[in-house]
């Protein structure tokens, strides 16, 4: 199946009421699916990555086959259809603007309204004889099951969190284990999210680095390799290392974790490069103030990708750490600038 999905070839296939016209989808992924997935993770063309909302068939389902509901984010759709190989069932895909189920549920686009109207549009009640929908558990922040039952007569069953557990869930008679209901945040989960932190951070870092190197022409004490390494390393520490090592760094607040790791990085680098000697102190002090604060800020941004931070918690963390981050950055920045423009060149 290509990225463009069924509608490029047969525009009529996505809006139908009769079961015969429903698009059947394959449960194996092609190379272009996988390449596309890789590109999305790295932030290229993320937004074109949608499937057409509507009703799809997996295998050859009849009126008794289960109906699974999901979002029109292609990565979600691909994972789902793969995990359903060998099954006969219906897939009802809601329009979430290409956003995954959980985020869309939080925003309300994967919501009761959309579900009810999509059911009407696809004529689901005529396609199946039973009155049951299986929703991903992570759709629950957007879907009020009692509301759906009242308005459509369909019973909502919340399935497991992860698509890979769906078969187990169905064969166990719609029973989920506790493990199936829990959201994790494994090393792998975090690794997959890292590009979305790292790429934007680098997009800002690169021009700044360029500007700094240009400004070296007017500087009394130009920035050298160690300075550049310290800076870039602080960005990597905040946007890559802190997310990856999250459970192993002390503290609960993300900014604290990032700051600790950033401090470790800057102090080690400056010590190894003998930058705490006389004549270097102003610059080094500036770096010790500025760079860990930068790591802290970047690490704090990762709260947006985490699966366990509450908005009240993030607000509290920000109220505490943002003033500190700002003060340290401004002070450190001024010290760096002074040493850069007016500092005496170190005689080697």
């Amino acid at each position: 199946m290509s990225e463009s999905n069924c509608c490029a070839e047969t525009p009529a296939c996505c809006w139908y009421t009769a079961a015969k016209e429903v698009q059947t989808v394959s449960t194996t992924l092609t190379t272009s699916d996988m390449l596309g997935a890789w590109k999305v993770r790295w932030g290229f063309g993320r937004m074109e990555y949608m499937v057409e909302p509507g009703l799809y068939a997996i295998g050859s389902p009849d009126g008794n086959a289960p109906v699974l509901v999901s979002a029109n984010y292609k990565l979600t759709f691909d994972v789902l259809r793969q995990s359903l190989s060998g099954m006969d069932c219906w897939l009802l895909i809601l329009d979430t603007d290409g956003v995954n189920v959980w985020c869309a549920a939080g925003k309300g686009t994967f919501g009761t309204e959309e579900l009810v109207s999509r059911m009407t549009q696809t004529g689901l009640a005529e396609v199946v004889t039973h009155r049951q929908l299986i929703l991903p558990q992570l759709g629950a922040p957007g879907i009020a099951s009692h509301e759906v039952a009242k308005r459509t007569g369909f019973n909502v069953i919340f399935g497991p969190v992860r698509a890979r557990d769906i078969k187990g869930f169905i064969t166990a008679g719609y029973q989920a284990t506790r493990e199936m209901r829990m959201v994790e945040f494994t090393f792998w989960d975090r690794l997959v999210l890292v590009p979305m932190e790292f790429v934007p951070a680098m997009q800002i870092t690169m021009p700044i680095l360029g500007a700094l190197l240009l400004s070296n022409q007017f500087a009394a004490r130009p920035f050298d390799k160690v300075d550049i390494t310290a800076y870039t390393g602080a960005v990597v520490t905040g946007s890559v290392l802190t997310p990856l090592l999250l459970p192993y760094i002390p503290g609960k607040a993300f900014s604290l974790k990032g700051w600790l790791l950033g401090l470790g990085w800057v102090v080690s680098l400056l010590t190894l490069s003998r930058r705490f000697a006389k004549g270097n102190l102003l610059r080094s002090a500036g770096q010790v103030l500025l760079f860990p604060a930068l790591s802290a800020y970047l690490a704090m941004n990762f709260t947006g990708s985490s699966t366990y931070t509450s908005p009240s918690g993030v607000k509290k963390e920000m109220e505490r750490s943002l003033p500190l981050i700002c003060t340290a950055s401004i002070l450190g920045g001024i010290m760096l600038l002074v040493s850069h423009l007016f500092g005496r060149s170190k005689k080697q």
Binding site: M47, V99, P141, V183, Y308, V314, M318
Partner: protein
Amino acid sequence: MTLTYLKDVVTLSFSPSKCIGCGLCTMVCPHGVFAMKEKEVQIVNRDACMECGACALNCPAKAIEVDAGVGCAAAIITGWITGGEPSCDCAGPQKKSRCC
């Protein structure tokens, strides 16, 4: 290792007197905050709550209240700047969701 966030911050509140014991909250919660104990539902891990709102929205008896939203620093900053609700649409009107 299980990750837990800050202690005693969440806005979750539960009224046992309204609860009809359907157990739905124990099913929809992704962090095991609610559990059924001797036919009664209790909050067993309050600090694990991420304020997603799934339990409150799905409770047929309106026994749960929580100030739901997105736990994302960038979203909260955007909310402060625009004076609106924190939203995940960090990159603005193109519906680009950077943080999700």
